[in-house]
Each structure stands twice: as structure tokens, then as C-alpha cells.
């Protein structure tokens, strides 16, 4: 697999871990990974948004346990540090959906420097997702 595209819409801390882990694994094989953050998940591409991600609903009371076990597994247990680690591989690119940014308050002023930028979904879907060897939606 030479390339993989991922679309992330879920912003709960536990739910965003899986696509980020899959990206980390793919990067370890030199696979180019492009990730589009849509809906509430676009907030993860801001420092404050990444720090505020939490677990929802019936799992919310287990968040401390989950974060502790994530750290035991060897991963950073906060999302921004995971994003930094992914970026450091040189294989992973992050994009903020422009519509999501407009709705949920992400702009070029608060976008983390690790992100490539704010893009239209059409560009990503045609230029990245449709061209990738594999595409996943979370």
C-alpha cells in the first residue's frame, strides 16, 4: 500500500485514537497518509481543541483509565502530541475541511502548524481519497 486517505469526523478522545494509530502504523511502512478532519473533529487541529477532546456518553467515566492505558501502550496520551509524532514521520498530512472550519471555528489563525491547511472537501475527495490505494472513514 503506497497511499491511504482517512476522513475523521468523530472527535471523542477514544474514537479519534483508532484512525491516528492506523496512520502511525501505515507510516511505519512508508505509506503516504492524508487525513481530512471534518465536522467536530476539525477542532482537533487546534491546540485548544486537541486538549479539550474527551470521552462521551457511557464511557466518559472511564477516561482516566483509558488515558493511563494509552500511555502504558507507549503512545502519548494527548492528541496533540500524537499529531506531532505522526507529522514527524514525514508520511502523514493533516487537512482541515473548510466547511467544518467555518462551522466549528477553525481558521488559519488557530490551525496547528502541523496541519497542511484548510481545504475544500472536493479537492480532498478527488485528489487524495479517490487516488489513494485505500480509504477509511471514522
Amino acid at each position: 500500500m503506497k497511499s491511504m486517505a482517512i476522513v475523521i469526523r468523530e472527535d471523542a478522545y477514544d474514537k479519534i485514537l483508532t484512525p491516528l494509530v492506523f496512520a502511525y502504523l501505515a507510516s511505519a511502512e512508508g505509506t503516504q497518509v492524508d487525513i481530512l478532519f471534518v465536522n467536530w473533529a476539525v477542532k482537533a487541529l487546534t491546540v485548544e481543541g486537541a486538549a479539550s477532546l474527551c470521552m462521551d456518553g457511557r464511557h466518559a467515566t472511564d477516561e482516566a483509565m483509558v488515558r493511563e492505558n494509552v500511555a502504558k501502550a507507549g503512545l502519548p496520551n494527548d492528541v496533540y502530541h500524537i499529531l506531532k509524532a505522526l507529522k514527524a514521520t514525514g508520511c502523514v498530512n493533516f487537512y482541515a475541511c473548510s466547511l467544518a472550519g467555518a462551522i466549528f471555528g477553525v481558521n488559519e489563525g488557530n490551525l496547528i502548524p502541523e496541519a497542511e491547511g484548510i481545504v475544500g472537501a472536493s479537492w480532498f475527495l478527488n485528489g487524495k481519497a479517490a487516488q489513494a490505494d485505500h480509504c477509511q472513514y471514522f
Binding site: V21, Y24, L25, S27, E29
Partner: protein
């Protein structure tokens, strides 16, 4: 060097997916062709992950052993 002389050992004990693979990839980048990386792991997911990672990345898995829940892999860097 014979086929089982270990150049570097990477201990991932206690860590889980994706870290054994991520750290194996990093360690391999620092080795020369023909060097042998020993990987120690306790994540049972590595039983499938490390052999398949070797296959896809062109490295050679020389051996895989398991004793009392600790897995040892010897991987030769071939590319």
C-alpha cells in the same frame, strides 16, 4: 558476522500496537544492510504484525521465539 549475531536490541516490553512496529521501523532506519535487529515484545499482536511488516518492507525475519509471554524476533535489514 554469522546469521544470528545481533547488532542492536529493541525492547518494546509492555508497549502495544502501534508502538512495536513504529519503533521497529525507527530502529531499522539506523542500521546498515545486513545488520540484525533483535526485537523483544510482549504484545501478542506482534506475532502477526512483525512477520507481515517484514514481508511488506523487504526485511527478513530470521527467527521468532516465545517463552513465558515474551517474544523475540531477529530481523535482518535487507533494504
Amino acid at each position: 558476522m554469522n546469521a544470528t549475531t545481533v547488532t542492536t536490541t529493541l525492547d518494546t516490553s509492555g508497549k502495544c500496537c502501534p508502538m512495536p512496529i513504529v519503533e521497529t521501523n525507527k530502529a531499522m532506519k539506523g542500521l546498515a544492510i545486513g545488520d540484525i535487529l533483535e526485537i523483544v515484545a510482549t504484545d501478542v499482536g506482534t506475532r502477526k504484525d512483525i512477520p507481515s511488516w517484514c514481508g511488506r518492507t523487504g526485511q527478513t525475519l530470521l527467527s521468532m521465539t516465545e517463552e513465558k509471554g515474551v517474544l523475540h524476533y531477529h530481523v535482518r535489514k535487507d533494504r
